[in-house]
Symmetry: C2
Subunit: 417 residues, 2 copies
């Protein structure tokens, strides 16, 4: 490690609060490198030479980040990507949760918000937000992932990108709400109902068909996110949650659920969110997001390895089918694998962190991770995925991510030959 051992006399100076002048004079103890996500402030704050000599700022109503830290989403007009390679937890801070919307983020007054349950029910009902909050509640830590996440993996050459720009359309939150099955008891759903139309109140009037088995199993209406109200970009004041299923079908700004006996064949499940296959057919209603993982450090984000020696490879894995049971890491492009350590708590359908010790010796290395979930499914290599699915889709890519560390330390996205 690069920690410096210092003499007792210098240490004494530390204790006398003359730390900075002494240590700075002791030969470059100050690290100027932004090693792991440290952002340069736009306007560097005036930092006191000795913080112990200056009264700090008082307490406040709302805290804020250090001016030296600036995790930011990468936005386009219709989506924004979570900085996975700057984060180190399993819960994504709400203000950097990914966004994806088809007609922007609507502004909805929670006092006027209603959710209507109708169709094949005996008692059509309009619920206010207060109604939803009054029912017996539940909470669940789970990921969401846009089915287009990692979609650049379908392209021929390896695209330039970071863990954020390649895979940042996924985030995990602690969601709170009410089970849809609880609401179904209120409206008395009829026996013949097999599908449910979920419709949003955005300008896309986004709508999807959901099989009733999933609705009965674990679907819920979320009004809470990470302890507070749902954020506007994630569907404020309430949205549908379908644990493990592609983001799009977790309809945001949810205004109605219509019960029917067949799928409603909406635009979002015919022209979009289907997978053209090599034989000319198309996969439809491919809801569950399969196991995926990516290393988040070291990646192209840092550009180049800071130094030789011992490091910790870090990343995240997740599966829409349940718990992650294993993550393996390869440093030689998949020739050999070894188990990474999983960080507790390992929760079903939630981002799971993995850690793996590695020593870099200025030789080329191809760093890859592969996740296994509780169904036994193993995240495939890109070649294996493409051999089955072709390259005609833009959705549901979950091939292994390779990061090539060149002998000079340069890091880039990499496709195996």
């Amino acid at each position: 490690m690069s920690a410096r051992h210092i003499s007792a006399s210098k240490l004494e100076a530390v204790n006398k609060l003359r730390r900075r002048s002494v240590l700075a004079g002791a030969g470059g103890l100050v690290s100027g490198a932004a090693l792991m996500g440290l952002a340069s402030a736009q306007t560097p704050p005036q930092v006191p030479d000795d913080p112990t000599k200056v009264q700090g700022r008082p307490a406040s109503e709302l805290g804020d980040r250090s001016s030296f830290e600036a995790p930011r989403r990468v936005p386009s007009a219709t989506s924004s990507l979570t900085p996975l390679d700057l984060l180190n937890g399993i819960i994504t801070p709400s203000d950097v949760h990914y966004e994806r919307h088809h007609a922007g983020v609507p502004l909805i007054d929670p006092r006027r918000y209603t959710l209507t349950l109708h169709g094949m029910v005996d008692r059509q009902t309009v619920f206010t937000l207060d109604d939803l909050k009054r029912f017996p509640s539940m909470s669940r830590i789970m990921f969401l992932e846009c089915s287009g996440n990692s979609g650049s993996g379908w392209t021929k050459g390896p695209p330039t990108g970071t863990a954020q720009t390649l895979h940042g359309l996924t985030s995990t939150s602690d969601w709170t709400g009410v089970l849809v099955s609880t609401l179904m008891n209120e409206v008395a759903v009829q026996p013949g109902a097999k599908w449910v139309l979920a419709e949003g109140e955005d300008a896309a009037v986004l709508s999807r068909s959901v099989p009733i088995d999933k609705i009965l199993d674990d679907a819920f209406i979320a009004y809470g996110q990470n302890g507070e109200a749902l954020r506007p970009e994630q569907g404020y004041p309430a949205r549908l949650m379908l644990p493990g299923w592609e983001g799009n079908i977790n309809v945001k700004w949810l205004r109605r659920l219509k019960f029917g006996d067949q799928p409603f064949e909406t635009r979002e499940e015919t022209s979009k969110y289907t997978d053209p296959m090599p034989d000319g057919s198309a996969r439809q209603f491919t809801f569950a997001m399969e196991a995926k993982s990516t290393i988040t450090w070291p990646t192209a984000r840092i550009g180049v390895m800071p130094a030789e020696g011992p490091w910790e490879i870090r990343g995240i894995a997740w599966s829409g089918r349940g718990r992650i049971t294993r993550v393996e890491v390869s440093t030689d492009g998949g020739q050999t694998w070894a188990d990474a350590r999983l960080v507790d708590p390992v929760l079903p359908m939630a981002h799971t962190r993995f850690l793996f010790p590695w020593t870099w010796s200025s030789a080329e290395a191809i760093l890859t991770s592969r996740a296994t979930d509780e169904t036994g499914y193993v995240q495939p290599s890109r070649q294996d995925l493409v051999s089955v699915r072709g390259t005609g889709s833009i959705y549901h890519y979950n091939g292994q991510q390779n990061w090539r560390v060149a002998a000079d330390g340069t890091i880039s996205n990499y496709y195996a030959a």
Copy 2:
């Protein structure tokens, strides 16, 4: 429940996107009440009559709360209180994590930050922040609680207050960092070392003595909080974490750990953070925060019950000794108790949510919760606590919290006779 059943013809109108005009005309479907934490915006935004007819705002680098939601800490000069009664998760959003500091929040440049390990060690060492991040890492979801939290419980009459103002000096985060034991391997701590002085770089130069057994057991240096960098009010760029122990000893802005063979008897463990007892003695080094719980809904926060009928009592419990194993709720001031439902995941030394069904019938009720932890310890009533400890302390209060619901629905803090 208060949900409204509507006719099929009205429903059809909903489907034709003329929802608001029809439903508003259908007799007050709009709820004007701020039932559960809905805040009035300072300047109400211009909400479109029909959000589906207006393009929403585009994606952004950083998200923000709905302008209708305003969870805020209650600040004094030296602390701020988490709005427990507005939250519904186990992780506290970082910007409403409670604050408590003795000389304000210092501004520290992470590029100049160092942590020194010295004293009874063979290799005194100065670690930079990058050094700390390079070591094998760990994460832990755990609460912090100021030992002065709930301290108004020691006063004679029941103070006016909410769950936030009475108990808001506790929060839970997902912390990431490096075990102190990992750093100890680097510096080779000598066999005779029994205590460790932890010192902060704030203007209070806050310092505390920590038994080495705790340091070896589970102490860590946190540089991450809820997935991102530690927040300034919680010790940016790095702090000591001692799972389950009173907040003050989890020294923020940590600049050194000195290993010695006896406690250092600092100001914060002699004049403060000790408990005067009825017999004239004082308890010192009372580190672990005992099991506590409070109902967070309904409480004085909402002022008055919104209506008769079925409701869900909600709250949080936590213990510095491990997992919460049971929370019981009483609605008759402790005469009878019944088990509440605990919300998964139930993690050691982390806030744990509990839920309890209750029907209010416009009769007086005294709502109380009591937590049991995995050691078998049961949160005491105020009377039982005071009978042992007297009322001379201002720290370590963990008596049961009673909320009195009067027959007219008014809710207030309440001491049993």
